[in-house]
Amino acid sequence: MLNFFILILIYTCIYAFMSLGQNLITGYSGMLSLCAAGFFAIGSYTTAILTTSFGWSFWATLPIAALLSALMGVLIGLPTLRLKGDYLAIATLGFAEIVRNIINNWDALTNGPMGIQRIPMITIFGIKISPYQKYGFLLMEIIMLLICWFLFERLASSRMGRALEAIREDEIAANSMGINVTKYKVVSFALGAAVTGIAGCLQAEFTLSVSPGSYVFMVSIMVLCTVVLGGMGNFVAVILGAFIIQFISYLPQLIGLSNIIPAQAKQIIFGLILVIMMIYRPQGILGRKERNNKKAEKNWLLNKKEAINEHA
């Protein structure tokens, strides 16, 4: 049981990476993208191919996977990001499906539907981080997640985060305030793609095998669910959302009812959650994080006081 709970936490971390990316794209820039599965697959296969066929270390494949995902993000972002709302969702969904189909059919590179097996385990300073000893793997994931979360949080509190929020609120007004809307949209899309690619690397290293069946449309939907459930525009909330979504999807196994409740039931539950959330709490469990200007405000008050004192 505890072992199973650790498994849930491991998957929570993998999905939390994707949620961070999705939150930057959807929660901050306001773009409804549905291609998490595509970047997830690109990350996984980059690690799988480079480690098995070329003997690279996992740590070397990590930046390559992130860069490749980001590059793909830019490539599909440039033509599609001028689309809005549902249209963007459909275009990005198409991209994710294209990636899956390419993987499924490019036998020479990806071994087709058979997938790639026997991916070497991660080693760090000579210590093997085996997915069978779940604690070590989880610890590594948590450390990586914390770093990513910290970087994204910094990004959101910088003026780039503010620019993204401005774009979400009103693109035309943001454009007229000197913000290069296309550039910021593409950058946020690429960063979101990169972190989703990293999630893919971890997924490949955890299962030690990759096959096209793991990168279906449902993955993108689950990632979107984590963001909506946790709270758009709040990085802590989406990590919480990732945990809840993973907890629910493994609940039948956790309580030992997996032979009574079919695995597909989780899809119904996700649907219900989305509907209920939209009706009763559209902002998500924790809601949007307000921009924090407290330090700058204090500084302003201080300056003001000084100015008054000088006057007197």
């Binding site: 970087l151 910094r154 990004l155 509190s157 910088s158 003026r159 780039m160 503010r162 620019a163 929020e165 401005a166 609120e169 009103d170 035309i172 007004a173 943001a174 454009n175 007229s176 305030m177 000197g178 913000i179 290069n180 809307v181 950058v187 960063l191 949007r288 307000e290 921009r291 200007n293 330090k295 700058a296 405000e297 500084n299 302003w300 300056n303």
Partner: protein, 263 residues
């Protein structure tokens, strides 16, 4: 050469010519009015100058340089800011954040902004503090500093209008376009707005405004351009415009009997 000049600016939408060969001039440090009946092409002219729309033909010059077809964000960086007819604030952001967006391109260095933003925690904080101070100046200019932490959407209408102007001024423009700033305001608010616009001119910002409130236009504009059906029909001082037969015709129609009804 005038500060801003359009030469035979034309914008066609399919068969409709919204702006037809308009030569529009803005002189430095003056308040220029752009008036005309509804659908005359005033806002389209604004959009074509500020880069939100691209003219079909014709040219736009700002401070002697051609800016025809320059995207809106670059136009803003060149020193032209604008407000919108139907207020376009960042509704979910706080008042101060709205103005801080206006400071966006003044903060930080222009290279590797993304990397810098992610990596240098200290720099972000320093940069934010400075941006906050600069933005606050503009809130104080409008006396909105006590509302700084309110969400923009919760502000009363008049304040929203002021906030939009504050946000535009935060980009430090040399030329400010106001699209119907007095729309929906009561006489007292309009009176205050006139004072505000004069204050803006006094700090060295040239103002161009579209307005339907004739009292406001005639009172504060040094120069007025009149559009009708996309064409410029008159240009001159308030006095000249008021006695221009083409303008009277555009606004009141040709029937001379109207004048008899004045008393």
């Amino acid at each position: 050469m005038s500060m801003l000049e359009t030469q035979a600016l034309t914008r066609e939408f399919g068969g409709v010519i919204a702006v037809n060969k308009v030569d529009f001039f803005v002189e430095k440090n003056m308040i220029t009015g752009l008036i005309g009946p509804n659908g005359a092409g005033k806002t389209t002219l604004f959009n074509n100058i500020t880069g939100l729309d691209t003219p079909t033909s014709g040219k736009v010059f700002f401070e002697g340089k051609e800016i025809t077809g320059t995207p809106a964000d670059r136009v803003c960086r060149l020193g032209i800011a604008r407000t919108f007819q139907n207020i376009r604030l960042f509704k979910e952001l706080s008042v101060i954040d709205n103005v801080m967006v206006g400071r966006h391109f003044h903060a930080g260095n222009s290279h590797n902004r993304t990397i810098q933003a992610i990596l240098s925690y200290l720099n972000v904080e320093k940069e934010e503090k400075k941006t906050y101070l600069d933005a606050m100046k503009w809130l104080e200019f409008f006396g909105l500093e006590n509302l700084r932490n309110e969400k923009a959407k919760n502000l009363p209408y008049g304040y929203q209008r002021e906030l939009e102007i504050a946000r535009a001024l935060a980009t430090e423009p040399r030329l400010l376009f106001l699209d119907e700033p007095a729309a929906g305001m009561n006489p007292q608010e309009t009176e205050d707005l006139m004072k505000t616009i004069r204050r803006i001119r006094d700090i060295g910002v040239t103002v161009v405004l579209i307005e339907h409130d004739m009292k406001l236009v005639m009172n504060i504009c040094d120069n007025i351009t009149v559009l009708n059906y996309g064409q410029k029909i008159a240009q001159g001082t308030a006095m000249e415009i008021q006695s221009n037969p083409a303008v009277i015709e555009a606004y009141l129609g040709k029937d001379e009997d109207e004048e008899d009804d004045e008393e």
